[in-house]
Structure formats: structure tokens, C-alpha cells
């Protein structure tokens, strides 16, 4: 038996990070009996260790809840918890496409933030009915009325039906459930039409193989059915149909409007295209769904094993991570400084950090990460167009007709008092101001910025100048021509490829000076003096010198206790192992990343 359309509600929860999305989801599950209080671990839906620790949601999650409403009827509620961070905006977009409405969770003390806005606009684009939920009303600093007014002002949606909750104490959770039933429309669909379902997401499960999350539009999905992926053109036999409660439950069939999963003996996630239309192989639908745009990595960096012997292990681990996350890419790369490694593409800096952290943690790898870079498009004099993912591959400037770099439109929310320094930061990063409005003591700024100015340390800087109060979100707005040059860093007269970067000509000198200063602090003194230079082409634009070491001597010799001196020598040699030899200079591994953290930016 599949659920009747009028008794289904599909909704996602959207919010700025930390406004309580996951806590609210857990409460909804608890209240509808999906899990007993005992089974509720910290946050049920954030499965991965990293998600739990950082308190962020990376993967979307789906849960089916059975809810007996005040009208006495039993409703099937499909909840989709979505990631809040911009790097995972594509995940949000897919989840939204599978729903008819959304709960917009806003922190009653903090009010609207940048991601609130970014997510809510996406939701509006999907024609969703939006139910505002003012959360954390238990906080002493809560100002629900002010926040409601702000939502009306900034977003322009009515808050007459807004629900007041404390996901922490459980206050208002029943009201949320009622509001879902009352305001979010049931899905439409045709039981008798040929199967049409959307492939929302897929991932690899060690026990089940590839699991496919689907939203059925028309028709039915049953075990034993032969299905066809319309874009891929492949056919598979469905061997399992089920839902998450949030534990897996196998059911007979999924009907129109329902969200659930199937398995079909598929070995690799790569065989499933997110956004594809699933239909019945024998009785296909006439019209495929529009599909999603394929996600493209926007930030690239090199990942190298500290221990060259771990190269194969790194390849293996990247391969395994990709099984579950088709949104990052990798290909082998070799560097004179760092040996063999991989050039990897990510959706953003957070995505980069997460993959890097998972490699270190789950696969026990020691890694060196090189400067993040964006994708440049180049038109060469000979008419060829190329994409550049790695500054080391930059062609000879004389062969380049023009270079284009990716731009973004950034939205920043900030308390008034930090506005001045934030505008200056955006200006310094070649930003173009588009809009500036004030809403209740806060400013909303829109800027166009080159992405390469953002991948550095923009986010860290923004957080530090606003003491963490500014929020930030962006989307890409295409490539634009720029006066860009490759800057190399030379240590003891040898270029260190892992440190070369593409910068705007106007910013090159400042950045070069900064890089030289950072490297000067990061490379320990040697027995000889070491010049550090930043250069464009053959021209040196900045220079620092590390003075030769003057003293490194143990004064006392501890009587006859030689073993103690030997330990000292062993320690010193151990320290050397954590360095990369570059010519006759030892560069500490941390330096490659640390050099990019601009620290006290000027």
C-alpha cells in the first residue's frame, strides 16, 4: 500500500548554520516516535564524525515520519535536513527539488543571516510554501517580534503563521507538526501514469551497495521492477525498496509524492547521475525531468603524502572517498618540491578542509596541502582555449591572449559597527559594491568579488574583523577577464613550485611581500643565509633574507651521560624528517599551508 497523496507532506528545513536545524529535526523525529529518547544520540542526522564534531551537516538526510494530526488522520511527513554551508548549495538545491515546502528556521536572538537568505531564495525559486520557525525563543536574548519583522522586511514573506519554538526544550514542536500539515501542500502525481521518479542522491553503503534516494512523481516503484535511468540509458533490476525512519525499513512500494530509497545491485556511485529521471524500462514515461546542473569543482589544490611511500595509499583513499562524494575530483600531479601527489578539485574551501580532514582521520594519512587555486580560463594566441587548475601549468605569458577568472556575488550580513572594515576588506580584494541596505541595526552588503581573492583567507578575515558576527554567502556569476600574472616564490634562488600562485598584477607586490615575510618566519635558520624572493617572470618584486644561524650549541655535556645528548641529536634529526628538502634548504611541511594564512593582513 502506498500513501494517499493528500496525506503526504514533503518538506526541507533551511537555516543559517547553528540556528537549530538539526536539533529541530531530531525533535520532530522524537515527537513522532521515529526514535525513542534512548536512541537519540547527540544529533541523529549528522552521521559522520566530522558532522558531529563541527556541528555542521554535509550530507542531506531524509526521514519519513508518521504523524497523527489534530484532525485524526495519519500523515506521512518526509523531512529533508539540508546542509547550510554554501559549498554544499547543490545538495540543498536537490533536496528542495524533491519537496513542496520548507521550514525556515531563524534564531530568535540572531535573526536573519546570510545563509538564511541564500537558502530561502533557492526555496522560493522552487515555488515552495515557506513556514517561518522562530527558534531558540528560550534564550534570554530572544527577540521573536523583532526577528519576525526582519523576516518580513528582508525576505518579504508573511510571518502571520510563524511558529515559535525552542528545539532545545521541546516548546512548540507540536505546533510545527500541525503547521506542516496545514500549510505545506500535498504533492501532486498520477498513480496510473508510467513511473517517473527523480534521482535525488546516491551513496555507497558497504552492506547494501549503492543506495539511491528517489522522489516518485508518477507511477509506482516496486521490488523486482526493471527500471531505466533516462539520461544514462542504463537498466537495472530493483532489489529493494524502502524508507528511512531514520533506520532503514524495507517496504513494498513507493507511490507518487513519496520519498524513499531503492537498491538495484549497482556497484559504483559514478553509475548514477544525480537529477536523472528513473522510469519503467518496459513502460517509460514520455517526458524526462529537467535534471540538475552537474556540479563543478571550483577550488583546486595539490595533496601530497608527507611520506612518499604513501602515494598509493592516498590514491586508494581518494578513490574510496569519491565513492560517496562525486563532487570532488582528483588526478595525479608531480611537484619538484613535494614529489608525487594529486591535484584535487572541491566545491569550496570547507569542502577542501573536510576531505583533507577525512583523509587524515579516517585513512590515517599525513598530508601536505598546497595553495588553493581557482579555475582560470585562457585564450591562447594560437586560438586554443584552456582551463588552468594548477598555477605551475601556466603557459608562457607571451602565448596568452587573455585570462579570465571566476567571479562571485557575495552577500554579507553584519552589525553596523563592523561595516567600515568589511567594506575596506571587500575593496582591498578588488570587490565591486552592488548594494548596501540597513535592516534593524544590521547592514546587508552585496559585492561582486573575484573568487581567487576569496579562497585565500577572506572568510577568516571577515570573521576576525567582525568578531564572528558577520555572515557570508556567495554564488558564482561567471568568468571575467583579469590582469593576472603568475607569481613564483624562490627560496635560495630555486623556485618552489608548490608555492607559486596566480594573482592580480595590482595585488602582486603586496602579496609577494607578504609571502616572503611569512616564509621568513616559517623556515628555520640554516647554517647559511637564505634569500627568499617573489618574482613575476624574471622580475623580483619582493625579497627577504633569513640570516644564517649563529648559535646552536648545548652548553653542558651532562657529565658522562651521553645518551642524553644522543636523544637530542635523534630529536633534531626527527625534526629534519618533517621538513621537505629543497635544494640545500629544509622547508617545514606546515609552511606550505601556513604561508597562505595571511595572518595580520594589511
Amino acid at each position: 500500500m502506498t500513501a494517499s497523496l493528500s496525506q503526504i507532506r514533503n518538506f526541507s528545513i533551511i537555516a543559517h548554520i547553528d540556528h537549530g536545524k538539526s536539533t529541530l529535526a531530531d525533535r520532530l523525529i522524537q515527537q513522532t516516535g521515529g526514535l525513542t529518547a534512548r536512541e537519540m544520540s547527540e544529533q541523529v542526522l549528522d552521521n559522520m564524525d566530522i558532522e558531529k564534531e563541527r556541528g555542521i551537516t554535509i550530507k542531506s538526510q531524509t526521514v519519513r515520519l508518521d504523524y497523527t494530526a489534530s484532525d485524526g488522520k495519519v500523515y506521512v511527513l518526509n523531512l529533508m535536513d539540508t546542509p547550510g554551508h554554501v559549498d554544499f548549495a547543490y545538495e540543498v538545491s536537490r533536496s528542495l527539488a524533491a519537496c513542496e515546502g520548507a521550514l525556515l528556521v531563524v534564531d530568535a536572538a540572531q535573526g536573519v543571516e546570510a545563509q538564511t537568505l541564500a537558502n530561502v531564495y533557492q526555496s522560493i525559486e522552487h515555488d515552495h510554501i515557506i513556514v517561518p520557525v522562530i527558534n531558540k525563543v528560550d534564550l534570554p536574548a530572544a527577540e521573536p517580534e523583532r526577528v519576525k519583522a526582519q523576516i518580513e522586511d528582508v525576505i518579504g514573506i508573511s510571518t502571520d503563521d510563524a511558529v515559535m519554538t525552542s528545539a532545545k526544550t521541546g516548546l512548540g514542536i507540536g505546533d510545527v507538526l500541525e503547521a506542516i500539515v496545514k500549510f505545506i501542500p500535498p504533492p501532486k502525481g498520477d498513480f496510473d501514469a508510467p513511473l517517473k521518479a527523480m534521482l535525488v542522491d546516491s551513496w555507497y553503503d558497504p552492506y547494501l551497495g549503492v543506495v539511491i534516494l528517489v522522489r516518485v512523481i508518477d507511477g509506482k516503484l516496486v521490488k523486482g521492477q526493471e527500471i531505466m535511468m533516462m539520461a544514462a540509458g542504463t537498466k537495472h533490476l530493483v532489489d529493494r525498496v524502502g524508507v528511512f525512519r531514520p533506520k532503514i525499513e524495507v517496504i513494498d512500494a513507493l507511490g507518487p509524492g513519496e520519498i524513499g530509497f531503492i537498491t538495484a545491485q549497482i556497484k559504483e556511485v559514478a553509475q548514477t547521475n544525480v537529477g536523472d529521471t528513473i522510469t519503467d524500462a518496459k513502460k517509460p514515461t514520455a517526458h524526462a525531468l529537467p535534471g540538475f546542473k552537474e556540479v563543478q569543482p571550483v577550488v583546486f589544490c595539490g595533496l601530497f603524502p608527507v611520506d612518499a611511500a604513501e602515494f598509493e595509499k592516498l590514491r586508494d583513499s581518494l578513490g574510496r572517498l569519491r565513492l560517496n562524494d562525486a563532487s570532488f575530483s582528483f588526478e595525479t600531479e608531480s611537484s619538484a618540491a613535494l614529489g608525487f601527489g594529486f591535484r584535487c578539485g572541491f566545491l569550496g574551501l570547507l569542502h577542501l578542509e573536510i576531505i583533507q580532514e577525512r583523509l587524515t582521520r579516517e585513512y590515517d594519512l599525513d598530508l601536505i596541502t598546497t595553495a588553493p587555486s581557482v579555475v582560470y580560463k585562457m585564450l591562447l594566441r594560437d586560438g586554443r582555449e584552456i582551463e588552468l587548475h594548477n598555477p605551475s601549468d601556466m603557459p608562457d605569458p607571451s602565448t596568452i591572449e587573455l585570462i579570465e577568472e571566476p567571479w562571485i556575488e557575495a552577500t554579507i550580513f553584519t552589525p553596523d559597527e563592523y561595516l567600515g572594515s568589511i567594506l575596506k576588506l571587500c575593496q582591498d580584494r578588488r570587490g565591486i559594491q552592488k548594494n548596501l541596505t540597513y535592516v534593524g541595526g544590521r547592514a546587508q552588503i552585496t559585492y561582486e568579488l573575484p573568487l581567487n581573492e576569496v579562497v585565500f583567507d577572506f572568510y577568516d578575515r571577515l570573521k576576525s574583523i567582525s568578531r564572528g558576527y558577520a555572515s557570508f554567502d556567495y554564488h558564482q556569476i561567471g568568468h571575467r577577464e583579469g590582469d593576472l600574472v603568475k607569481m613564483s616564490i624562490m627560496v635560495n634562488a630555486e623556485p618552489v613550485d608548490a608555492l607559486s600562485m596566480i594573482v592580480h598584477r595590482g595585488a602582486a607586490e603586496a602579496r609577494g611581500r607578504h609571502m616572503c615575510e611569512r616564509m621568513k618566519d616559517l623556515i628555520p635558520r640554516h647554517l647559511f643565509k637564505i634569500p627568499i624572493q617573489a618574482a613575476i617572470g624574471g622580475k623580483v618584486i619582493a625579497r627577504e633574507t633569513i640570516a644564517a644561524m649563529r648559535k646552536d650549541v648545548t652548553a653542558k655535556c651532562y657529565g658522562g651521560d651521553i645518551s642524553r645528548k644522543k636523544k637530542l641529536l635523534d630529536k633534531q634529526k626527527e625534526g629534519k624528517k618533517r621538513m621537505r628538502q629543497y635544494g640545500s634548504v629544509d622547508i617545514p611541511q606546515e609552511a606550505f599551508i601556513a604561508a597562505l594564512r595571511m595572518g595580520d593582513d594589511k
Binding site: 647554517l527 649563529r550 646552536d552 650549541v553 648545548t554 653542558k556 655535556c557 657529565g559 651521553i562
Partner: protein, 381 residues
């Protein structure tokens, strides 16, 4: 007699009146000490070593601590006599006592001289009362210099220690202090830069930012100044921190640096003999009970393979101004110097002016001496 293998003997007396805040040597403060019991224990520990090493000639005996000048001169005499009974003493055998420069101990100097000591090493540490106080020393400059006078009257060979590169010490202040020190006319000086040793009182203060050492450049300046002044005064460095008139180097310490055999008797004492590293129980009570149970205070007795011996000989030998004698090195370690070092690094270091390498000798240049640790790390294979 010159045909016999040489041996250096170290005796450790682990007690102090109080613990100095920079010191991480094996020292203990006890209310009462059963001196006769301790004498017998030291003699037993010594006899244990003697049984393993028959037919040696003893080139030096060194009483260190702790504070060995708290021992009754008769106790030291008994130990020296025992050494002489177990082995033959070189005609010019160097017998040194480490002593604190205070009036109580100085009063016993005549007794020590009669017991057989020919050399004394005084822990003067500073010629500045404020600095002495900071270093936790019980004596004043005046008292220290009085003890130095008495020492010079009783012992043919006198050395004293100074600690420099102290918090707040300027170049001018050290220059004056060292000039004064050189004026006392001793044949030997140990000049140590203050080092923060882990788990000392100074280490804690240092970690809390309450003890600030001179910066690296000042400290390098002070080191260079020290080299220049001592050389000009006729007491050039023969080791990183040790300075002597020609022929007045400490024979005992040279045994360590040349990687000759030495035994260490008493709590926490280290030895290197018969290609074996020895270490006595550190805690006095444990050492005593080990002696009673096993006939020696040994806690560790670890054979050293050729590779380890070579590493140790390299890191000790490089500290000497004279450097490492390749033939002696091979004889002591069973490995050639050439096989112990990274020869490519050696050639680089020669080009950089850090070392001089001949077939028969490897030594630091004056430029390499202040960075001996870095040179060593580069050189060692």
C-alpha cells in the same frame, strides 16, 4: 705502565644542602646522612667495577654531585685509596673535587688536599650577588672569592664555573665579569651559557614567561665575546664551554669527549666501559638497596653496537677544539669516521667553512663551533 688501557673514574655524591633552580643533575636533599654507610656502599660499587676491569691505569678520578664537598675528607680519602688499590694510578693522575665556594666547605679544603685531591672545580657561577641569588646559590660573591683564595692556596690546579647568558645580562656586563674572572689567574675555566633544562624550576618560570633569556643574537654575541676574551688571556676554548691554559685541560673530561673508557660509581652515575653503557640507580635509596641485593648499584647495563658507539664518539668528539682523531675514533668504536658521517654533507660543510676535514682528523672551524649541534645533525649519517 703506559701499555695498560687508560680508565677514568667518576664518583657521584648525590646530596646537596638545597636544590638549585637551573640544575637537573641527580641531586637530593636529605636531613641526615649515614656517612659511614655511604662510604662502604661507594667502595662496594667501585669494587664491582674493578672486578670487571682488571689491569687498567687510572688517568683521572672525579668526585661530582650533588655536592661532594659535603663529604667528610676521610670518606673521599678512603675512596681514592681504594681506587689506588684496585688499579695503578698514573703518575700525573688528575684527582678533582667539585666544591661549593662557601666558608663551611672551604674550611675542609686542607683536608681534601691531604686526602689526595690535586684539583678543585669551584661552582662560583657568577660574580654578581643579584645573579647568584637568582641562580639560587647560597653563597655571596665575597664568600665565593674567599673560597677561591683558599682553594688556590691548597690545590695545584683550580678551575671554576661561571654561568653566563643570564636573564637581563648585557654584553658590557658579561665583558666586565669575564675580565674579572680571568684576572684571578686560574689555569682553567668552565663557562656555560644558561640552559633551561626540562622539569627544573627555571623551566616552569620560563614557560610562564617569568624568566626571559637574552635573544639569539645577544646570546651568539656573548658566546663569540667569550671565545675572543679567553683566547686573548691565554685560556682558549678546548671544548665548547671549557677553557684552559695549554696542558691544563681537564683530563677527566677529555676522557668523555675522546670516548675513552670511564666508570661511573654512585647513584645515577653513567659509565662507558667495555663497549657497554652503564647507569646506576638514580634515587639514593634504590641504589643502596640494589647494592645490597646484587652487589652493584647498576640499573642499566646495555651493550653498545658499533653504530651507537660511533654516533656517541662523533657527538662527543666534535665538541673538542682539537676535533676527532680518525685513528683513535676507529679504534674506540670499531667503525671508521668516514663510514659514520654523510660525506656529501661533510663536503658541503667544508665549503661553508663550518668544518675542516683531513684524512686523519675532523674538526670544527671557529665559525662552526657556535653551531655544533646543527653541524652534527647535518653530518651524522
Amino acid at each position: 705502565m703506559p701499555d695498560l688501557e687508560p680508565l677514568a673514574v667518576y664518583i657521584h655524591w648525590p646530596f646537596c644542602v638545597s636544590k638549585c633552580p637551573y640544575c637537573d643533575f641527580n641531586s637530593h636533599v636529605r636531613a641526615t646522612i649515614d656517612e659511614a654507610g655511604w662510604r662502604d656502599a661507594l667502595l662496594a660499587d667501585l669494587a664491582f667495577e674493578a672486578a670487571l676491569l682488571p689491569g687498567r691505569r687510572v688517568t683521572s678520578i672525579f668526585f661530582g654531585g650533588g655536592t661532594p664537598s659535603l663529604m667528610d675528607p676521610a670518606t673521599t680519602g678512603a675512596v681514592i685509596d681504594a681506587v689506588a688499590r684496585h688499579w695503578s694510578l698514573d703518575a700525573d693522575c688528575e684527582i678533582t673535587l667539585e666544591a661549593n665556594p662557601n666558608s663551611v666547605e672551604a674550611a675542609r679544603f686542607a683536608g681534601y688536599a691531604r686526602a689526595g685531591f690535586g684539583r678543585v672545580s669551584l661552582g662560583l657561577q657568577a660574580l654578581d650577588d643579584a645573579a647568584l641569588k637568582q641562580l639560587g646559590r647560597a653563597h655571596s660573591v665575597r664568600e665565593g672569592l674567599a673560597a677561591l683564595d683558599i682553594a688556590q692556596a691548597h690545590f695545584g690546579r683550580v678551575s671554576f664555573d661561571l654561568i653566563y647568558d643570564r636573564p637581563g645580562q648585557t654584553r658590557a656586563a658579561w665583558e666586565a665579569e669575564l675580565a674579572r674572572a680571568l684576572g684571578f689567574g686560574t689555569e682553567h675555566l668552565s663557562l656555560y651559557q644558561l640552559t633551561i633544562e626540562p622539569s627544573t624550576a627555571f623551566a616552569r618560570l620560563h614557560a610562564d614567561g617569568k624568566l626571559v633569556l637574552p635573544d639569539a643574537d645577544t646570546s651568539a654575541d656573548l658566546f663569540e665575546l667569550t671565545q675572543a676574551m679567553t683566547a686573548a688571556a691565554g685560556l682558549p676554548a678546548y671544548e665548547v664551554s671549557n677553557h684552559a691554559r695549554p696542558g691544563a685541560a681537564s683530563r677527566h673530561n677529555l676522557a668523555y669527549w675522546r670516548y675513552d673508557d670511564y666508570i661511573g660509581v654512585g647513584p645515577g652515575a653513567h659509565g662507558r666501559r667495555l663497549a657497554t653503557a652503564t647507569e646506576r640507580h638514580k634515587k639514593p635509596e634504590n641504589w643502596i638497596s640494589a647494592l645490597a641485593a646484587t652487589g652493584s648499584g647498576l640499573n642499566v647495563e646495555a651493550p653498545l653496537d658499533a653504530e651507537t658507539r660511533a654516533t656517541e664518539a662523533l657527538l662527543m668528539g666534535l665538541r673538542l677544539a682539537h676535533g676527532i682523531d680518525a685513528a683513535h675514533f676507529a679504534a674506540r668504536t670499531g667503525r671508521t669516521l668516514e663510514a659514520t658521517i654523510d660525506t656529501a654533507a661533510r663536503d658541503r660543510l667544508v665549503a661553508q667553512g663550518m668544518i675542516e676535514a683531513r684524512t686523519d682528523r675532523l674538526q670544527l672551524t671557529p665559525q662552526g663551533r657556535p653551531v655544533v649541534n646543527a653541524v652534527l645533525a647535518a653530518l651524522h649519517r
